[in-house]
């Protein structure tokens, strides 16, 4: 069972209070884009073994979306941060690097 801290309201709670929203920081492709780009945005996923950035919604709390950096091999949560960003904040990347030196970084 995951324990997550909502960065919007500061509440720490177990996962039943949240709703998972899948891979974060997807580059969006809308009308007029190439089929391959649209397919990649809609369906294809990194699905990594290791560091994963994913969207969560504090469904039974403040209702806000946020992003969690988590390890899919150990379920360790490195950090959570607000969703208003296109890539993980530098301090989150540093924090993950300190715990996972082999991690190739966010790409």
């Amino acid at each position: 069972m995951l324990i997550l801290t909502c960065p919007c309201c500061g509440v720490t709670a177990e996962e039943t209070e949240f709703h998972g929203g899948g891979e974060a920081h997807l580059k969006r492709f809308g009308p007029g884009s190439e089929d391959a780009d649209y397919e990649s945005y809609m369906f294809n996923r990194k699905n990594p073994r290791g560091v994963h950035f994913e969207r969560w919604r504090h469904a039974y709390g403040c209702g806000k979306w946020f992003i969690a950096a988590r390890c899919t091999m150990t379920l360790e949560v490195f950090a959570t941060y607000p969703a208003q960003t296109h890539e993980p904040p530098a301090e989150v990347v540093t924090q993950i690097k300190s715990k996972r030196p082999d991690w190739e970084g966010f790409a």
Binding site: M1, L2, E14, E15, T16, H19, G20, G22, E23, D35, A36, Y38, E39, S40, M42, F43, N44, R45, K46, N47, P48, R49, H52, E54, R70, T72, M73, T74, L75
Partner: protein, 415 residues
Amino acid sequence: MKRYSAFAIAREAFRQHKGWGEAWTSPEPRASYDVIIVGAGGHGLATAYYLGKRFGITNVAIIEKGWLGGGNTGRNTTIIRSNYLQDPSAALYEKARSLYETLSQELNYNIMFSPRGVMMLAQTEHEKRGYLRTERANALQGVKTRFIGPAEVKRLVPIININGPRYPVLGALWQDRAGTARHDAVAWGYARACSAMGMHVIEQCAVTGVESAGGQVTAVNTTKGTIGCKKLGIVVAGHSGALADMAGFRLPVESVALQALVSEPIKPCMDVVVMANTVHGYMSQSDKGEMVIGGGADQFNNYTQRGSWHHIEETVRALVETFPMISRLKMLRQWGGIVDMTGDRSPIISKTPLGNCFINCGWGTGGFKATPGSGWAMAELIAKGEPGPLAAEFAMTRFREGRFIDESVAAGVAH
């Protein structure tokens, strides 16, 4: 390979059962093979078996990072059925179900196929309409199913409570030739048959990389060295994303944990399989007497083969309402497997961006039932380089083209 028979048992009884020998051999890998299958679970072994049996390709290695059948093949709830709504799914799963009927005889290995019947409960009006529609679709597809009323449900399953306050039983979609089989035995039987054809089943050998040149796979790097191949089949369920990453492409797949549990063994009380999709729970009784219970998948990506506790609680809470007698049972054990979920909850049997590399994945929460059919279709794809009629609709290009095989809507849940 020693043939198993009543005479063999009698013969061995006279010599303290010392003459059985290994069911399959454990060879060191050769430098190269015609075909390498990554993943010695049910689907991978079935693929290899039908490559040999249908197409005469026996220079094959099946590479497994753990032990044979130790992934989802050994972790499912062993349900076999083919009552699907969409034509491509019904064709594939019914092919698999029909192969299960004679698989013990064909493999000379008792897989304990038990066509005890599967019922899918309709517990809301919406679900009832959905199953009536599926019943008619099945009639057109040649899959024998029947919608039965609550009285018949109660007759077949005396322990069920059909007047539950929240979810009364309004009927059920009943498939009487569906059932269960011994999951490990399916893998063991295929492995034994593959080994007898001269194929190499190589356990404890993890793939660490895929070598390619000019858009073609040339070899795989493994913990037992580099092994060359003319064709590569990837059949690794939850770890498909990792293998695809090594081969240089992405999949429309996410890996999540799915859990199951069994109760302490009790005397026989239910001789069919009951699925209750509205409440996300399904239950059958094993030959050992345990009530085998499966539930819903987690909502986040996970490779740990263990899931969240609350899913077990939700599943059991819902089933206790439908089967009040199980409230007294203790849980004996619980486990998880990593399932590969696609966007439309239907599998992928497909060519890949690499010309001689083929992938079979995305079975999500319902792959065991399809094992023989999946192997049948995948073997044809590998042997001919083009999909046959069973696999054609399951190409991964369907996501780009918008041709979903949308069983997740048909079943209301992952299936």
